[in-house]
Amino acid sequence: MANFKVIGRPIRRFDALSKAVGATIYADDYKMPGMLHGKVLRSPYPSARIVRIDPRRARALPGVVCVLTAADIGYAKMVADIPGQTGQRERPQSETPVLAWDRVRYKGEAVALVAAETEEIAERALELIDVEYEPLPGVFDPLEAMKPGAPIVFEPDNIVARWRIRKGDIEAGFAAADLIIENTYRVPFVEHAYLEPEAGVAWVDERGVINIRVSTQVMEHFRTVARTLGIPQNRVRIQGAFAGGGFGGKEDITVEVFLALLALHTRRPVRLAYTREESILAHSKRHPFIMRYRIGVKRNGRITALQADLIADSGAYPYLSPYVSLYATVMATGPYRIDNVWVDTVAVATNNPFTSAFRGFGGPQPCFAYERQMDDIARALGMDPLEVRQINYLRTGDTTATGQVIQSAVLLEESARRALEALGERTPDHGPIQVGRGFASYFQSYGRLMWLHDTSQAWVGLELDGTVVIRCGAPDPGGGQLSSLCQIASEVLGVPLENVVAYTPDTALTPLAGTTTATRQLYMSGNAVLQAATSIRKTLLERASKYFEEDPDDLDLADGRVFIKRDPDRSMPLPDLVRICAAEGLPLAHLALFKAPFRDPIDPETGQGDVFPDFTFGAFAVEVAVDTETGQIEVLKSAACHDVGRAINPAAVIGQIQGGSHQGLGYALMENLIVENGEIRTPSLSEYLIPTSVDYPTTQVILLESGTGVGPFGAKGIGEPALTPVAPAVANAVVDAIGKPIRELPITPELVLRALGKR
């Protein structure tokens, strides 16, 4: 299969046209007969004691079918731990009340649920639920939250997680340095701002199974729902609609438990759809980090030691903060060979909005810091920024700071060089407009932590007419995950792409494939589909070999036919072969289970151990024009170059990279979820600005294909990595333009003027 027919071709995704004509039924487009409308009452305080909840007036309102408070649901708690296909046990301390009863810990925390005949009545009912709060002192800064005597959000001491890396001899490393560069970096809360707010519909079917059709990245939340409600896991079914974006924000439970509770209590279908404001209030955010970096370097540019202290604001509940902070720890060194490393990371609870997964999952924050540090080092040594990186880049066979040996190709040099070259001629300065250039390199894992023992399953079957069905429980929040699975099956079975169907995930119909998170779906489910299709291919070729009296290795499948490679005219239509196999009872379907490499957890004292299946490497380069009088920054050109291993669908890969680049530019320059005393000051898309079509020019994309990834056909993951290097590259370009350091995001016009000393 060296010459691919379908793999590597920029095909139109099967879901694209249906979406363009508005025919796709998203989570909030689904109606059921007799459907009720749900609403959630939320805390107006970031920290308060609940003195009393009285739902009687709401219950008396005509049209209200159900009002639930914590007392009505047995004070249920939800395990907000790492979801999905994993045999690993959960962290018991990550429990979150489904509905608060004694106290609320962040503004927007759910306090009661309503189901009513109309949305209007449900809204009115919320106003009639009497809740008496007694505001309590809150803590809104992770540094304050760690001090003795700070209000306790999370017992016993607001520490949600700690991680460390101890490698080599840090003191000797710094002693050997000619120069030590030390700085502190800060990055803000960031909102996912997917276009589709959280939504779903639930109903209890004739078997007593709770069905939830929902916009999610995680089918396996049926387990959390079941556990939270205290019912068997086989009594909850999740149907995953095509989601209107996720980016990590639909990785945690959103509406699922609320819907299940309301459907169970009313025995009627219930719809729950968040407004935009509620979405911003109710779901997770990207972690703000405070990052102190200390890097020792020889005059020749070789890094001798790196020390990083990372402090992440976890907000009011842990959710995935323990894992995000672990990722940040593992990726804190950047893609560099450093013998002496000391990293301390702490995730701290506050009464701020809770933080959890967001594209990059702890990768982008340290990348901002270490890549700014690398430019500072270059400047201090009078070296070229690429040169100083080249001296320190990881290479295949090197070990990371946690002692993991890099197995795949490491095209760091090439990606940085090509991205920079793509910027072309440098734009000249003009009056107060100063032009600058910068780039950033990165490494970012794809696939989950290896001690989670991650698996994905896919079922592939051939129908009698030679068409193919894929059943794989992979949610598709927009990346084209399902379409790529079709390409893989099409390639392996020699079936035209239009003859392959992949169902959207449904725990009743599709085998569990794990989460669409951690840039794992192409890697994991792609491999599962590859295994399943390969198994069927083997059956087909073995049977055909008897028919043609040829060795199976001399046969191939393509364009819906089986044929002899050296004499393609000797062939048979695939449906004929399928019918022969079917008549003989040969298996024409296969359920494959793909397992990621399994490892034990890292050593908690030293952080040593294998953590991830593999890493993606690449670079982003950008040219900016800075108006030194107004501080405004114009992105003039940008280029992204990543080793994607193998581009299964180059159009989809380019789309992922351009989209990730754009989100990264927003992170660098514009996006800032302002939180003051626990209150979001940017509560809607009027205040929380994300880039529009006119803000940044098209990012040039350069694909490198080393073929060395652990995904199907050597693919690596690209969804999250696309974003990681963008913000530091922009910051480096701004620093190049103005000659002053930038150590926080977003780089607003005011920040630029402050850096220039103009105020």
């Binding site: 979406k19 363009a20 004509v21 935009r276 994300i690």
Partner: protein
Amino acid sequence: MEPRLITLNINGRSHQVALKSNVTLLRALRDLGYTDVKNGCEKGDCGACAVLLNGRAVNSCLVLAWQADGAEIVTAAGLGTVDHPHPIQEALADSGGVQCGFCIPGIVIAAKALLDRNPHPTEEEIREAISGNLCRCTGYALIVEGIRRVAESRES
């Protein structure tokens, strides 16, 4: 607050509906089954609910249904179907401009309004025309490319 019977002419079909005064055109359309009109923010920030109202692209969340009484309304689904897509829809699907797709019906409407008035827009004009339609997935590049291709194919 009594409902009032109004006429909404949607995608060439006339609907008589009794609606209360505080119902937006967005809500009315979705309740009538035009779920291709997406609810992304309900305050005119995202453009996902864009429709043509008497030929002009507007946020249907910012129009009261009564204000659209008797008007001609076109949604993305009214421009084409999977079997007979509008060239803009076809081009967006082909260019790779559709990822999660939630913004796309609104962008199709904004692009239609642009090309109706300006059949050969520059890239800048295309970007400007969809600047009220937020997209979080694509970075807009392949969307712009798709719209550009429609304009180009019309030239030949």
